[in-house]
């Protein structure tokens, strides 16, 4: 299996303050990797560090055998794409325009779409199942549909690696299942490597090939979901903070 990304003694945090012990993990081609942990455990910081938004405070990230910082920003845009929780809010922005923007790194000065680019855009819309929405205004779509548009944008960008930050956060149950299906399709058919984060024990986690579990000041643990459950790590990392607080009302009865 080809390695896409690995970290060596990576320390993440702000102002020299590390959020967790050194991280040594790797991502393999075609894997769906879930980064799970309660709120405030450093998921977003790790995410931003891996996607070159912020610098590590120690150690390094290497992407396809080269240090992340050594890539020019324009090179990075063809290596990994993002699906974020923040969404475009311009009222007249069309689905097509957003997805086409994902193609910009591949286009010339005037951003003229060739037949080949248009084909890629339509194929991506087809893959995530929203080709009927192509002329719609983005803000008029549901959360689930907006999520799919952003995934289509990432697909059009044509990168081997896709980062998804809390992709299931605002989705209802059927949309979550659709999302799982799309992620499987991308990984199995298009050999994309996907790293996504989640702050609760979502159904998505069961469909991950590999899980990275984090908790405040705890070391990051890597394993298959089953291994981590069997070792009691999921319990240990999630229970004391999330589960007890969230389900407190159940115990009263």
């Amino acid at each position: 299996m080809n390695e896409v990304l690995h970290t060596t003694d990576l320390l993440i945090g702000y102002k020299g303050q590390a959020l967790m012990p050194e991280i040594n993990v790797s991502l393999n081609e075609g894997d769906i990797v879930a980064l799970a942990g309660p709120n405030g455990s450093g998921k977003t910081t790790l995410f931003k560090t891996l996607s070159a938004s912020i610098k590590p405070i120690g150690g390094e990230v290497s992407l396809f055998g080269k240090k992340l910082q050594d890539y020019h920003p324009s090179e990075r845009s063809s290596l990994f794409s993002l699906v974020l929780t923040e969404k475009p809010d311009d009222l007249f922005l069309k689905v097509f325009d957003i997805v086409a923007a994902g193609r910009y790194p591949h286009l010339g000065l005037l951003a003229r779409l060739k037949a080949e680019d248009e084909q890629i855009i339509y194929d991506s819309l087809e893959t995530v199942g929203i080709s009927h929405l192509v002329n719609r205004n983005f803000v008029s779509l549901s959360d689930g549909e907006q999520q799919k548009v952003m995934i289509a944008k990432a697909l059009v960008q044509d990168t081997p690696l896709i980062f998804m930050d809390e992709p299931a956060a605002f989705l209802d149950y059927p949309s979550k299942i659709e999302l799982v299906n799309i992620m499987h399709k991308l990984s199995r058919e298009k050999h994309k490597t996907i790293l996504f984060s989640s702050h609760d024990l979502d159904l998505l986690l069961r469909h991950a090939d590999v899980m990275w579990v984090v908790a405040p000041q705890q070391p990051l643990r890597q394993g298959t979901p089953k291994e981590l459950v069997d070792q009691g790590i999921i319990d240990a990392y999630f229970k004391p903070i999330e589960a007890k607080k969230e389900f407190f009302w159940m115990n009263r009865e």
């Binding site: 311009d90 005037l110 339509y122 803000v139």
Partner: protein, 368 residues
């Protein structure tokens, strides 16, 4: 069965070609009306005749040295010496301010942003206040109302004031991380420049103050025929510069983190956008005074008409619509029934504000 790409039709929700032709036709009509109407109305037939003679004479003199030119009518002077420079100035100011406003609105992702947002026009006002009012106080009224001040001096002072603020903003933009802080800094600079201007006004003589107030009302007729080529070239350079930024602007609409991931250097791009937008504002404010509302209103009208946020379409659309609206305002300001010209600033707001209101109330329909 999955449909092939041919089954998915990408349709523009607005008939782009038709609207574009409409905008250009309205622009031409308004341009001719600008030349014909005013304190002296020129019949259309006379206008055509005069244009025909002028073109014929200038062509024929090239081929035939003996050609006897047509005696220029009184209309000729009115059209070509007074109204043509005014109409062209209005048209260029409309283009530049509207495009500048669009850039600000996209950069700050704020529909209320306009060219004056970063304090650049306040800087221009301060420059003019310093020159006109101080010169008036120290050198007497004669100095401040010298013909020199009313043309090059005022324009130069306004440009220097605007450009100093622009440089200050650019320097600060490399220090500030968030766009919100940058806007706040711009607004504060505008306040400081505004209050210094007010203090200067407080201490100056009534007669001197008058000429400053007149400048502040805005006018499209201050650019002389000799200055026009310079004004036209600079506005065109700024507008073309804005168009070249359309990819960056489109990516910024997705949000900063997406834009960054798609290869945009956020800091450098925002400085470029501020530079282009500020340059246009500085030039136009220098020559025409602070013109309110065009830069705020026109991008909204363009988005609404074309139902698009694609800057490749929006920048030319905004430019042409800005041209139409400025010509219309110039026409209203010089309606025949008014002896002297109305302040352009009040006309632009009077016409611009209802249009923006109308756009806001009709926006819901577009979003369906």
């Amino acid at each position: 069965m999955t449909p092939t790409s041919l089954d998915i039709e990408r349709r523009h929700t607005a008939p782009i070609l038709l609207i574009s032709l409409g905008i250009i036709a309205v622009g031409l009509l308004l341009f001719v009306m600008n030349l014909c109407f005013g304190s002296v109305s020129i019949p259309f037939a006379e206008f055509i005749k005069d244009c025909y003679y002028s073109i014929r004479d200038s062509v024929m003199t090239v081929f035939d040295r003996e050609w006897v030119c047509n005696e220029p009518s009184t209309y000729h002077t009115i059209i070509f010496e007074y109204r043509l420079p005014g109409a062209i100035t209005a048209l260029l100011a409309g283009i530049g301010l509207s495009v500048s406003g669009l850039l600000m609105q996209t950069l700050f992702r704020n529909p209320l942003a306009d060219p004056s947002l970063l304090g650049i026009s306040s800087g221009a006002s301060l420059g003019v206040a310093l020159v006109v009012l101080l010169a008036g106080s120290f050198g007497g009224i004669a100095v401040s109302t010298l013909a020199l001040w009313s043309t090059y001096g005022v324009a130069l002072a306004a440009f220097v004031g605007a450009f100093l603020v622009l440089l200050l903003i650019l320097a600060l933009s490399s220090q500030l991380k968030s766009m919100v802080s940058l806007v706040l800094v711009g607004i504060m600079i505008a306040y400081i420049a505004g209050s210094v201007t007010d203090i200067l006004k407080f201490f100056s003589q009534k007669e001197v103050l008058h000429s400053f107030v007149i400048w502040g009302m805005g006018s499209f007729s201050n650019v002389s025929k000799a200055q026009l080529p310079f004004f036209a070239i600079t506005v065109m350079v700024g507008t073309v510069g804005a168009f070249l930024l359309f990819k960056t602007l489109n990516l910024l609409l997705l949000g900063e983190r997406y834009a960054e991931n798609l290869g945009v250097n956020i800091r450098r791009s925002s400085m470029l956008i501020i530079l282009v937008s500020g340059f246009l504002t500085a030039i136009i404010t220098a020559f025409c005074g602070p013109i309110a509302f065009l830069g705020l209103a026109v991008p909204h009208i363009a988005r609404f008409l074309f139902k698009s946020s694609d800057h490749k379409l929006l920048i030319p659309a905004t430019a042409f619509l800005g041209m139409d609206l400025a010509l219309f305002c110039n026409l209203i300001a010089r309606l025949p029934s008014f002896e002297s010209k109305l302040p352009v600033n009040s006309v632009t707001a009077l016409i611009g504000a209802p249009i923006v209101l109308w756009v806001i109330f009709h926006r819901q329909k577009v979003l369906k």
